[in-house]
Subunit: 138 residues, 2 copies
C-alpha cells in the first residue's frame, strides 16, 4: 500500500502521515525500490488509532504516550485513565470558558435592537461603557 491508499484507508492525510513520521510519532515507513513509502494493515490500524485520538482532542504528545501504552501489553490501565482524565479536565475547562463567553454574548445580542440606528450595547460593552452592562465581556 502506498501513502495515498494508507491515507484514505486511515482517514489521516498523506501530508500528516509524513509529518507524523518526521516528528517521530510513527516509525519510519518501509520503502519500495522507487522510494515510495509502503504501509501494511498494522500501520493502518495505528493511523486509525491516531486519527481517533486526534478527533478526541488529544495533543500529539499525549497521543505519543497513548500509543506507547497501547503497544505495551503490561501497561496499567491506571496510566491510561490518568492521561484521559487530565485531558477531560482540560476539555471541561475550555468548555466552561467558552460557555462564559457565550452567555455574555447572548445577553448582549439579546439587548441589541439590530436595526439601522447606531446605538449598540455590544459595542458599548466592548468599549468599556458599563452603563448598560448585562453580560460583561471582561
Amino acid at each position: 500500500m502506498n501513502i495515498g491508499q494508507a491515507a484514505s484507508a486511515s482517514g489521516v492525510s498523506a501530508k500528516m502521515i509524513r509529518h507524523y513520521e518526521t516528528t517521530g510519532l510513527i516509525p519510519k515507513a518501509a520503502r519500495a525500490y522507487s522510494g515510495y513509502r509502503r504501509y501494511d494493515e498494522r500501520d493502518i490500524h495505528t493511523l486509525r488509532f491516531i486519527r481517533r485520538a486526534r478527533t478526541a482532542g488529544f495533543s500529539t504528545a499525549q497521543i505519543k504516550k497513548l500509543l506507547s501504552l497501547w503497544q505495551d501489553r503490561q501497561r496499567p490501565a491506571r496510566e491510561v485513565k490518568e492521561l484521559a482524565s487530565a485531558h477531560l479536565s482540560d476539555l471541561q475547562m475550555r468548555i466552561a470558558e467558552l460557555q462564559t463567553i457565550a452567555h455574555a454574548l447572548t445577553q448582549l445580542i439579546a439587548h441589541c435592537h439590530g436595526g439601522e440606528r447606531p446605538q449598540c450595547p455590544i459595542l458599548d460593552n466592548l468599549a468599556g461603557d458599563d452603563s448598560a452592562p448585562r453580560g460583561e465581556l471582561r
Copy 2:
C-alpha cells in the same frame, strides 16, 4: 506614554501592540524623536476595546470589522449584531463539539477500572474495538 505604559494601561502586551500595528489592526503609532512609539488616551481606549474583543474570542479579522463599526458613528447596529451572532454560532458549535467529546470520554473513563491490570476500554475504543463501546470517540 511609551509602549510599556500603554501595555499595562490597556492589558495588551507590548509585543502584541507592535504586532497589531504591523498587521494593520491599529494605525502606526506616532514616534518620539528617539523612535519610541507614543500613545495617548484614545489609543489606550482602542487597545482596551481590542483586548475585550479578544477575550470574547473574536478573531483579529472580526475585531478589525468591529473597530471600524465602532468608529463609524453612522453604523447600523444590525451589522454589529450580525457579526456578534455569527461569532456566537461559532462558539456554540465549538462548545457542542467539545461536549460531545467530553461526554464520550467521560463514559470511557467511568468504565476503566484504573488499576494495575492492562485491560482498558479507553485504549480499546481508540483502537476501534467496539466490543465494549460506551461513548465512541469517533
